[in-house]
């Protein structure tokens, strides 16, 4: 039985080796079929509706998934499956900050996002932060940050320090488990970064509830 009934949007991060050749059917269709089988045979909840605004009819098999595909050298396929719950996803945000906002601006935005989320995203949360890139890429970075192990840090010590500082600020908020008050509001803050345009400093916050479930396989 899944620990949380929200078994999420099926999100995949796939690194495809350039020497891999798929035969006997399409790669994307294979992922779809994997989602159908996994959600059916695992008795997982089907949480996807076909159109976002009007009919919102359940697709009944949890497809379509979201697939982030990257080509890498080699002859293997690395698949990371990260089911994403809706409650924490709804507390996420992208902000197109400007270079003058600086470190303080980033800190304030992230801490404020967690404060305004209160008990909604099922704290204690893991906070994925993207900084840099473009409007769409920064959101991807924030999601990718959630894949990291909870005790990991950004390789650049300046960003690693910022992760620790933001985590400390968040845990001063007192929101606590389920928002009912407590010392632990976040378990980790993970920052992922990318170079960006001279005019920009996009920042994204993607929230992950405490039921953080990931699975990785290499074919």
């Amino acid at each position: 039985m899944p620990i949380c009934q929200d078994t999420g949007f099926a999100v995949f991060f796939i690194e495809m080796g350039e020497d891999v050749r798929i035969t006997g059917g399409g790669f994307e269709e294979a992922i779809y079929e994997g989602v159908r089988q996994g959600y059916r045979e695992g008795y997982l909840r089907k949480s996807i509706v076909d159109d976002p605004l009007f009919e919102r009819k359940n697709t009944k098999d949890n497809t379509p998934p979201i697939i982030h595909l990257r080509l890498v050298p080699g002859d293997r396929i690395k698949i990371v499956f990260a089911p994403k719950g809706g409650g924490s996803e709804n507390m996420s945000e992208v902000k197109m900050m400007v270079p003058a906002d600086g470190e303080e601006g980033v800190k304030r935005f992230v801490v404020d996002r967690v404060r305004r989320s209160g008990g909604n995203p099922c704290p204690p949360v893991i906070v994925g932060v993207g900084i840099g890139g473009t409007f769409e890429h920064v959101a991807y970075l924030a999601k990718k940050a959630l894949l990291r192990p909870v005790d990991s840090h950004h390789p650049d010590p300046r960003f690693a320090k910022l992760e620790d500082e933001i985590l400390e600020e968040i845990n001063k908020l007192g929101i606590g488990p389920m928002g009912l008050g407590g010392r632990t509001t976040a378990l980790a803050v993970h920052i992922e970064t990318h170079p960006c345009h001279i005019a920009s400093m996009p920042v994204a916050v993607n929230m992950q509830c405490h039921a953080a479930r990931h699975k990785e396989a290499i074919i």
């Binding site: 039985m1 899944p2 620990i3 949380c4 009934q5 929200d6 078994t7 008795y43 997982l44 909840r45 089907k46 949480s47 919102r56 009819k57 359940n58 009944k60 809706g86 409650g87 709804n90 209160g118 008990g119 909604n120 995203p121 099922c122 001063k172 908020l173 007192g174 929101i175 606590g176 389920m178 928002g179 009912l180 008050g181 407590g182 010392r183 509830c209 405490h210 039921a211």
Partner: protein, 185 residues
């Protein structure tokens, strides 16, 4: 250990008014599930002058979209979903007799005002502890909107469902008083 209050549905005025934010309760009896899509249909039904699919007088609605039941089990994992999404629909339901709601996360001002006016209570269930919560569900049956899948309205029979009174009928709000105790700096 803190005292745990055992309460039963349908909720009486006396029980509702005696509960205080922060109380631990074990709830038993019949409750109904309903989340986003079902709430939209409730309101559409009311606007058309149609009846709701269950008797709302004294009823408790649990904001949940359960996972499918495995063979031989009444229900799959069944933890709460975030409640504020139902805020827009809630006062209209409180006005016609809804007495209790179960979910997670804070509620808007209009909901709290309506809870005070109509003497209703809001319980928090523990998000993410859905497999554990499912153990309290003894029977489950879809009673309306089957096409909504996990969002269909189900009649649940629960036994000792563990809940915390998050916002009481007097307006005390654990989402404010709880974090206040722990806030630093």
């Amino acid at each position: 250990m803190e005292e745990v209050k055992r309460i039963k549905t349908p909720l009486t005025e006396e029980v509702v008014m005696s509960l205080r934010a922060g109380d631990n309760v074990l709830l038993s009896g019949v409750i109904y599930t309903g989340r986003d899509a079902a709430h939209k249909r409730f309101i559409q039904a009311l606007e058309k002058g149609e009846a709701l699919p269950f008797d709302i007088n004294g009823a408790v609605i649990y904001y949940v979209g359960p996972a499918p039941a495995k063979p031989g089990q009444p229900i799959g994992s069944a933890g709460p979903t975030t409640s504020y999404r139902m805020d827009a629909y809630t006062p209209a339901l409180l006005d016609i007799g809804l007495k209790g709601m179960i979910g997670k996360g804070p509620r808007g001002e209009k909901v709290i005002e309506s809870m005070k006016k109509n003497h209703a209570i809001y319980f928090a269930a523990i998000g993410g502890a859905a497999a554990l919560i499912a153990k309290s569900v003894k029977e489950a049956e879809v009673v309306a909107y089957e096409d909504l899948g996990p969002e269909a309205v189900r009649k649940l029979v629960v036994e000792d469902l563990p809940l915390i009174v998050a916002i009481d009928a007097h307006g005390n709000n654990l989402y404010e008083s709880g974090p206040e105790k722990y806030r630093r700096g």
